[in-house]
């Protein structure tokens, strides 16, 4: 049977443009862009899996589906885009995201190695030369060495190169109107805290904290309650604090014993949000290292001085902390045990009692009665507060989706006797009001919970959703101690499912829609992919194409790939010398006859060639 097949067609690479040595590049490239896609998705409040899948898909399509662009160039461009995305979203790294950055870095490095290796494999092998080491061996060796160098460079060079890293004070960017407008309310000092509006709580990082231990980062305190909101009797009586330009000494509030005699605790805050004029710190701040001029209220709350406060001496002050600003706080507090708190039964200073132990005017009698009922039989302040805390934990539920209270009712009353469903502000307010109802000095505090600790940097990453409100109780001889009743309150979702599958699906509409589109694209592309596979197999159905493929495979295994300019006969002769098998010369001759002769190769010659190729 005659068989005539153009050599070019028989020798065409099996894929549609991308050489086989380059296909493996798609794997690490997909991991790199998938990792950075996951970080970017989280930053955009989209489930990370959507970003990861999108990034990986883009990488695979970029490497494999653009045959008109050299694979190396396409890959490098993709890695460049991935790098830009990493730079754009790196600051969003949290405890898990920083590992995604590590994965991105490792995959990027592997991609560079693999794509350069694929390039090298397009060069014909030196006759008799040593084969290249395996991809895995080379990648592992290079990866280990480069990782070592990168780690050393990161540790040794980062603080030096950037100069500001490792410092405890840095001015950061000057906030503009946009930063001010987009900054969450939890970062802006305010005279009131409205309990009838729902807070905005995104996943955006607001600041990171270098600290040896977690703590609540206190912002503002409120002592006046009118039934729907809190306010501070100190505001606007802020007083400027003395500063030498880098260091502000804070005068501790009177009767805050811990702030005078406690232990120091140092924290460095790195602002990630565009604006904040509240100085967050663990209680109670004594020294603030900053270039800003600060104001202090008599309850100890600190804020950045207003615009134009003293531009001659503090040119960076007046606009609050901008993105990149760094300040360090040395706080002082008294470490106490439960027993010490129980024994703190001395007289409360008149000033404290007058300001913080008064029952708010709006408090309803049944709230007072409830508080007295809960604390009945308790003989000390600590036990009373714990009883109230436990009652809240047992009888209320936490939910950010709780209905807001009407304007004309007392929020605490409404929360305790009607809804029993609320968020930290209602829960903490209830504790403060009930504590005051039984004569215990208490105040509401807003700020942030410690946040999650970044496994790489060791910093606490604080996000917008970590904004919190809690109570502080005054103990004679000790000072203010924080109590977080919300921690005792179970989440509303812990009790039962919040809704049907339809509700869940509605909450995840965007990722589900993206997933659906990707599934549709995959299904649509499947026939074409299968057809390409069939075409590829069909090209190998002729004897000559199969034999040539087997010959090339044997050559590649021996470390000598066929060059584009080599005819099958020449290639077979090269392999015959290389492998010391003269029978390959005849195989090459048979292939030439099969490819070009009108009559095709005789059956006996084909059988002999098959036998030789099988024996290789």
């Amino acid at each position: 049977m005659s068989e005539r097949q153009p050599l070019r067609e028989a020798a065409r690479p099996p894929s549609r443009g991308v050489a086989s040595s380059y296909r493996i590049v798609a794997v690490p490239a997909a991991v790199a862009l998938g990792a950075v896609g996951a970080i970017a998705a989280e930053h955009a409040n989209v489930p990370w899996v959507v970003g990861a899948f999108g990034g990986a898909l883009a990488a695979v399509l970029g490497v494999l589906a653009l045959p008109s662009i050299p694979t190396r160039r396409a890959t490098i461009v993709l890695l460049g885009l991935g790098g830009l995305a990493a730079l754009r979203h790196a600051s969003y790294a949290g405890s898990d995201r920083s590992w995604l950055l590590v994965i991105w870095a490792a995959a990027t490095m592997v991609t560079l190695v693999v794509v350069d290796r694929a390039d090298a494999e397009t060069v014909p092998a030196l006759e008799g030369g040593a084969p290249l080491p395996s991809r895995v061996t080379e990648t592992a060796r290079v990866g280990a060495l480069i990782s070592l160098v990168v780690i050393v460079a990161a540790v040794a060079l980062v603080p030096t190169v950037t100069a500001r890293l490792g410092r405890h004070v840095w001015p950061g960017l000057t906030p503009n109107d946009n930063d001010l407008a987009s900054s969450p309310s939890s970062l802006k000092s305010s005279s009131t805290l409205d309990l009838t509006s729902r807070p905005r709580l995104s996943d955006a990082v607001v600041f990171t904290v270098d600290a040896s231990r977690p703590d609540f980062w206190r912002g503002e305190t409120f002592d006046r309650y009118n039934g729907t909101s809190w306010s501070s009797s100190s505001n606007p009586d802020y007083q400027p604090l003395p500063s030498d330009g880098t260091r502000v000494l804070v005068d501790p509030p009177p009767y805050d014993v811990g702030a005078h005699t406690g232990q120091d605790f140092r924290q460095t805050f790195h602002m990630q949000a565009g604006y904040s004029d509240v100085v967050f710190a663990a209680p109670s701040p004594r020294v603030v290292e900053t270039d800003k001029l600060l104001w202090q209220a008599d309850d100890g709350t600190l804020r950045v001085a207003g615009a134009g406060s003293d531009p001659d001496h503090f040119p960076n002050s007046g606009a609050g902390f901008g993105k990149g600003a760094v300040y360090t706080v040395t706080s002082r507090s008294l470490p106490v045990t439960e027993q010490q708190l129980r024994e703190a039964t001395g007289p409360v200073p008149v000033a404290i009692a007058g300001q913080y132990a008064q029952i708010p005017i709006s408090t309803t009698p049944r709230v007072v009665a409830l508080a007295r009922e809960i604390t009945r039989g308790r003989t000390n302040t600590y036990d009373e507060v714990k009883a109230l805390e436990n009652w809240l934990g047992d009888n209320t539920r936490y939910s950010l989706n709780a209905p807001t209270s009407p304007r004309d009712v007392d929020v605490v009353d409404d929360f305790l006797f009607r809804t029993r469903l609320g968020w930290c502000e209602q829960i903490a307010s209830s504790l403060v009001v009930m504590a005051r109802s039984v004569g215990v000095p208490a105040r509401l505090v807003t700020g942030f919970v410690p946040g999650s600790r970044d496994a790489l940097t060791g910093r606490f990453v604080v996000r917008e959703r970590d904004a919190h409100a809690w109570a502080e109780i005054y103990f004679p001889g000790i000072g203010w101690q924080g109590f977080d009743p919300t921690a005792s309150v179970p989440l509303a979702g812990d009790v039962k499912s919040s809704g049907s599958w339809l509700t869940d699906a509605r909450h995840n509409a965007v990722p589900l829609a993206v997933l659906a589109v990707l599934i549709v694209i995959t299904i649509a592309a499947l026939p074409e992919v299968m057809a390409a596979g069939r075409r590829r197999r069909a090209r190998r159905t002729s004897w000559s194409a199969q034999a040539l493929h087997r010959l090339e495979r044997a050559g590649r295994k021996s470390g000598r790939a066929r060059t584009p300019s080599e005819t099958p006969r020449e290639y077979a002769e090269v392999l015959a010398r290389r492998l010391g098998d003269d029978r390959l010369v005849e195989v090459g001759a048979t292939l030439d006859v099969a490819l070009y002769s009108a009559r095709g190769a005789p059956d006996e010659a084909r059988e002999r060639a098959d036998a030789v190729l099988t024996s290789l």
């Binding site: 060069v123 030196l126 990149g324």
Partner: protein, 332 residues
């Protein structure tokens, strides 16, 4: 015959110091330290932007990304430079070749490198991939007539990251020089009687075929062909006697090769063609050339020897031909 001299000592045609077959004198080849790639631009940009933006905004993660990119950039440049610098190459070439032939160079690369490409220069050949240490065979075209004691070899690598393609050119002395003869042009044999008997008797083909005139009869010696037995004398003497002929008149030509002209290579090829055709026809060839500034003239016994003579020839006054010899002057 003058001894073969490593030709990298004198920069003349036929004694080229630029390596094997540098037909394209002055052709630029890659001599620089290397080339930066698109990868290097991307990494440098990311590194600069990351460090600058991170330092300005205080975002350590951004600085870390920048430092990572810079580190890859630095490693990508240093690694190929160090890798190539540690490599050494030995080359062994065959002793004879003709212009246009593909010469198989035996290459030995010592040192350690995961990936390296190698090629011969003059003219630049194909790149061949190997890892080091390795030994292999590299085909290279002998592009120019001459005797070459060295070959220029180029190594390159971009391993492991493809950031920087480091190229290193080195001249490698050959263990034994390679003589590249001119490629003979098609020419007719020149067979004229040559008066020099010494030359004629030296021509083996004429001696075997014999002449027409019987010079003497002598006792048989082992090896004498049976057709030379002179039967009457053998019968008379009682022992076998054979005829001994006068040597035939020698035929051949004295080729005087004068390369002082605009086309020395064409002249050398023509001389090679005439000489090869004459030798193939059984003639004797005397070749007069100028080699290394000296006039050299002598008979050549075969085409290889003629090729070697012509390979060494340089422009200059050639040796004068023997008296009464038929002369073929080939000039450039």
């Amino acid at each position: 015959m003058p001894a073969e001299t490593p030709m990298n000592a004198t920069p003349e045609p036929g004694s080229d110091d630029r390596g094997l077959g540098s037909a394209l004198r002055g052709t630029p080849t890659h001599q620089g330290p290397g080339d930066l790639t698109l990868t290097s631009i991307v990494l440098f940009t990311l590194g600069a932007y990351g460090v600058a933006a991170g330092a300005a905004t205080g975002q350590e993660a951004v600085v870390a990304v920048g430092v990572f990119a810079f580190t890859l950039f630095a490693i990508g440049i240093v690694w190929p430079i160090v890798s190539i610098a540690r490599l050494h190459v030995r080359v062994v070439a065959p002793t004879d070749a003709t212009v246009g032939d593909t010469v198989m160079l035996q290459i030995e690369v010592t040192g350690r490198a995961a990936r390296v490409d190698i090629r011969a220069l003059d003219p630049p050949g194909t790149w061949w991939r190997t890892s080091a240490p390795a030994a292999g065979t590299m085909p290279h075209t002998a592009a120019r007539r001459g005797v070459f004691g060295s070959v220029r070899v180029q190594l390159r690598t971009s391993a492991p990251l493809g950031v920087f393609v480091r190229t290193r050119t080195m001249r490698v002395d050959l263990g034994a020089p390679i003589t590249v003869a001119p490629r003979p042009t098609v020419a007719s044999a020149v067979l004229h009687p040559v008066p020099d008997e010494r030359v004629a008797t030296g021509a083996a083909q004429f001696r075997r075929s014999g002449g027409d005139t019987v010079r003497a009869v002598r006792p048989y010696a082992p090896g004498d062909p049976a057709r030379l037995v002179h039967w009457p004398t053998s019968a008379r003497r009682g022992e076998i006697a054979v005829r001994e002929y006068e040597p035939p008149p020698a035929h051949g030509v004295a080729i005087v090769v004068d390369l002082r002209g605009p086309r020395p290579e064409a002249a050398a090829s023509l001389a090679a063609g005439i000489g090869a055709a004459t030798l193939a026809a059984g003639g004797v060839v005397w070749c007069g050339t100028c080699e290394g500034g000296m006039q050299v003239g002598d008979t050549v016994s075969n085409a290889r020897e003629l090729g070697r003579r012509l390979a060494r020839s340089v422009p200059g006054a050639p040796a004068r031909p023997p008296r009464d010899w038929p002369v073929e002057i080939v000039s450039a």
